[in-house]
C-alpha cells in the first residue's frame, strides 16, 4: 500500500519536451512509472522517451485516460498549466516548478480546493512510492519499498533521509515532498492523515523547516489524530530572522516560524525529534 501514487497511476507530463521535463520523463519511465502522455502546446504528434505528446491536456486525457499530472513548465506558465489540468479532469497534480508568483498560487489553490483536486507543490521534488511509481525528481535508486512514510518541505534533505533509511534496510511506503513555498497545495496535515489511513505505513518521518506555522498545526494534528509513531526534524535552527533561506517560505517573520518553537511543538506532541539529519534514520531504526 501507499499514498497518492502507485502502479495504477496513469501519469501525464506537462512540459514534457522541455529540458527538465524530457530528462525526468526518461527517469520516471525507467523507474517503471506508467507515463501515458505528455503535453507541450505546438508539439502534438511527437514522441518523447517513447511517450506520445499532445497539444492540450484535454486531448491527452481523452486519448490516454491519464489521471495524474506532473508539471515541469516554467514559473510564468505554471498557474495556467495547473488550471488546465484541473479543467481536463486530472485528480492528482504534482508541481515541481520553483518561483511561481504567490498571487498565482493563492488563486490556484482556491480553485483546486473548490474542485477537490489534490496538488503537491509547487517548488517540490514530488512523490515516490518505491517499487511502484516515481512522480517527480526524487532519485529512485536511494529508495526501497517498505513501511515508513516520509513527508518533507525539503528536497535534498529528504534524499539524505531516504538514503540513510535504505542503507539501514528500512524501506519506505511513500515519500512526499510538499515543497518550500509559502502557499502549498498540500500541507503536512493532509499527508499525515493519508499516512494514518494507509495500512501500508507503520511509522511517519516528518521533516520541517523554519517559516510559517504548518509544523505547529501538524504537531497538534499528530497529538489529536495520529496513532502511528512519528519521528521529526526541523531545519534552520541557525537561521537569522527576516532572511529568506533559499526556499521562498523559509523565513522567520514577526517572531513566528522559528525552529525552536517548532521543535517544542513537536516534542509536546510526543514526536521523537532528531537533533541532526543523521539521527533521523538512527531513531527510526530503534523504533521499527
Amino acid at each position: 500500500m501507499s499514498i497518492y501514487v502507485d502502479k495504477q497511476t496513469r501519469l501525464l507530463v506537462q512540459g514534457i519536451t522541455g529540458r527538465e521535463g524530457a530528462f525526468h520523463t526518461a527517469q520516471m519511465v525507467a523507474y517503471g512509472t506508467q507515463v501515458v502522455a505528455g503535453v507541450t502546446p505546438g508539439k502534438g504528434g511527437q514522441r518523447e522517451a517513447g511517450v506520445p505528446v499532445f497539444d492540450t491536456v484535454a486531448q491527452a486525457v481523452t486519448a490516454t485516460g491519464a489521471d495524474a499530472s506532473i508539471i515541469y513548465v516554467p514559473a510564468r506558465f505554471t498557474a495556467d498549466a495547473i488550471l488546465e489540468a484541473v479543467d481536463a479532469g486530472i485528480r492528482t497534480i504534482v508541481t515541481i516548478t520553483e518561483g511561481v508568483p504567490v498571487h498565482d498560487m493563492l488563486r490556484v489553490t482556491d480553485y483546486l480546493l473548490l474542485h477537490g483536486v489534490r496538488m503537491i507543490g509547487p517548488n517540490c521534488p514530488g512523490i515516490i512510492t518505491p517499487g511502484e511509481a516515481k512522480v517527480g525528481i526524487i532519485p529512485g535508486n536511494i529508495c526501497m519499498p517498505g513501511r515508513v512514510g516520509v513527508v518533507s518541505r525539503s528536497g535534498t534533505l529528504t534524499y539524505e533521509v531516504l538514503h540513510a533509511l535504505t542503507e539501514r534496510g528500512i524501506g519506505q511506503s511513500t515519500a512526499v515532498g510538499i515543497g518550500g513555498d509559502p502557499v502549498q497545495g498540500t500541507k503536512f496535515v493532509d499527508v499525515l492523515q493519508a499516512f494514518q489511513d494507509d495500512p501500508g505505513t507503520d511509522l511517519i518521518v516528518m521533516i520541517g523547516e523554519i517559516g510559517g506555522t504548518d509544523e505547529e498545526t501538524a504537531a497538534q494534528f499528530v497529538k489529536d489524530s495520529v496513532t502511528k509513531p512519528v519521528v521529526g526534524f526541523i531545519a534552520g535552527q541557525t537561521a537569522p530572522p527576516g532572511k529568506r533561506m533559499g526556499h521562498a517560505g523559509a523565513i522567520i517573520s514577526g517572531g513566528m516560524g522559528t525552529a525552536e518553537g517548532k521543535v517544542q511543538a513537536f516534542q509536546a506532541a510526543g514526536i521523537a525529534v532528531a537533533r541532526h539529519p543523521d539521527e533521523i534514520a538512527e531513531i527510526v531504526a530503534r523504533m521499527v
Partner: protein, 378 residues
C-alpha cells in the same frame, strides 16, 4: 524585495489613496527647497529599509525650510540598524485626530490574503496583537472573488469608525487591495492611516513588500531595488543564480538544496562552530557554479574553513567531486575544505577526493566536526 516609504506612497497614490504631497531629498539643500515649496511645517523622514526609524531619531519635525535643511543634515548619513540613510522624505506636517492601522498580508496557513486593521495605529501591530487581541480586526479575502463591500463594512465597523467616514474608508481599502494584487505584493501596510482634524483620511506612511518570484512581470518595481538592501556578496550570488545569505560565523557552507543547507548550518552549530553563510548551489553542482560559490564564500575574510555538503542524486557524486577539485584548483587558497558527498556513486567520489588529499567524511555530523576543528586550526 522591499521598497522605500516614498516609493510605496507614490504607488498608493496611483490607486487613489490619499497620500501626502511630499518629495524626496538627498541633501539638506534639496530638503530646504522642498520644504519651501510645500510651505509651513514639514516632517523629515529617513528612507531606510528597516522599521523603528522614529525610535532611532530618523523622523523629525521642522517648522520652516531652514529647520528642514538642518534636520535633513542630521538624519542623512545616520546609521539605522546597519542601514545608512541616503535619502529623506519631506512631507507636509498634518493635524492628526486619530491614528489607525491597516494592512493586507498573506495568511500562509489559510492560503488567503487577510486584511489586518486596528484602531491602535502608529504602534507595532505584532505588539498590539499580543497585548490587545480584541483591538485587531482580521478579514480574509477570497482571491477568486476579490474584496467585497460587506467586508469593507466588517472592517469599518470593527474599527468603530464614524459612519460618515465609511465611504472614504472603503475607497481606501479597495484601492489598497487593488494595489496589493496589481503590484504582486506580499504585504501592503499603512501605519498610520490617520483621521485628520478636518475629518478626512490620509495614508501618512506606506510599506510595500514585493514577491521576488513575480518581479519578471513587474519591471518598474524591479528597477526600484535599493542596492543597500543586500550585501555585495548577496548581490553577486543573486546575479549568479545562487541562493546566499551572509551570516556572522567563521565556517563557510556550500550545499545543494535549501533544506540541506540549513541542516548543515545547524550541525555546525551543534558541533560548536558558527556558519559564515547560507549557500544553496541548487541541483547539478557543475564545476563553474561550485567555483563561483567558493569565490563568494572565500571573499569573506572571516572564513576559516569551508564545509561542502553535496547529495549526489541524479547528478552522480563522482562528477560532483571532479567539479569540486577543478574549482579548488583554480582558486589558490589556504583555507581548509572538508567535503562530504553522499548518494549516487559516493564511494567513487570519496576516492577521487582522497587521491587529491581533500579530507572527506562519511556522515554530515563527522564532516561538521572536522570543519569546526579545521576552523580552530586543528
Amino acid at each position: 524585495m522591499n521598497i522605500h516609504e516614498y516609493q510605496a506612497k507614490r504607488l498608493f497614490g496611483r490607486y487613489g489613496l490619499p497620500v501626502p504631497v511630499g518629495d524626496v531629498a538627498t541633501s539638506p539643500e534639496e530638503a530646504r527647497a522642498i520644504a519651501a515649496r510645500l510651505g509651513g511645517r514639514v516632517v523629515v523622514k529617513a528612507q531606510v529599509l528597516t522599521g523603528g526609524r522614529g525610535k532611532a531619531g530618523g523622523v523629525k519635525l521642522a517648522k520652516d525650510p531652514q529647520e528642514a535643511a538642518d534636520r535633513a543634515a542630521e538624519i542623512l548619513g545616520m546609521d539605522i540598524k546597519g542601514f545608512t540613510v541616503r535619502q529623506v522624505l519631506i512631507d507636509p506636517a498634518v493635524a492628526i485626530a486619530k491614528e489607525l492601522y491597516l494592512s493586507i498580508i498573506q495568511d500562509r496557513a489559510a492560503r488567503r490574503s487577510v486584511i489586518i486593521a486596528s484602531a491602535e495605529g502608529g504602534m507595532d501591530i505584532e505588539e498590539v496583537a499580543v497585548t490587545q487581541p480584541d483591538a485587531v480586526v482580521k478579514v480574509a479575502i477570497d482571491p477568486l472573488l476579490g474584496l467585497q463591500p460587506f467586508q469593507c463594512n466588517q472592517v469599518a465597523f470593527g474599527l468603530g469608525l464614524d459612519p460618515a467616514l465609511h465611504r472614504s474608508f472603503a475607497a481606501i481599502l479597495n484601492g489598497l487591495y487593488q494595489a496589493y494584487v496589481a503590484l504582486d505584493a506580499t504585504l501592503v501596510e499603512i501605519n498610520p492611516l490617520v483621521i485628520l482634524q478636518d475629518g478626512s483620511l490620509m495614508a501618512l506612511d506606506g510599506k510595500v513588500n514585493l514577491d521576488d518570484s513575480a518581479l519578471y512581470r513587474q519591471p518598474e518595481l524591479a528597477a526600484m531595488r535599493d542596492p543597500s538592501d543586500e550585501t555585495a556578496a548577496e548581490r553577486e550570488a543573486r546575479e549568479a543564480g545562487l541562493s546566499y545569505v551572509d551570516l556572522d560565523g567563521s565556517i563557510g557552507c556550500l550545499v545543494n538544496g535549501a533544506g540541506l543547507a540549513m541542516a548543515s548550518m545547524d550541525v555546525l552549530k551543534l558541533c560548536g562552530g558558527e556558519p559564515a553563510n547560507f549557500l544553496d548551489i541548487g541541483g547539478g553542482a557543475q564545476a563553474d557554479k561550485v567555483e563561483k560559490a567558493m569565490r563568494i564564500i572565500l571573499a569573506d575574510g572571516r572564513v576559516k574553513s569551508v564545509l561542502i555538503n553535496i547529495f549526489g542524486g541524479i547528478t552522480r557524486g563522482d562528477e560532483v567531486a571532479k567539479g569540486i577539485l577543478a574549482a579548488i584548483g583554480n582558486l589558490q587558497t589556504d583555507v581548509p575544505f572538508v567535503v562530504r558527498i553522499v548518494g549516487t556513486n559516493a564511494a567513487e567520489a570519496r576516492e577521487i577526493l582522497k587521491s587529491a588529499n581533500l579530507p572527506t567524511a562519511p556522515t554530515l555530523y563527522e564532516a561538521a566536526r572536522l570543519a569546526v576543528a579545521a576552523a580552530a586550526g586543528q
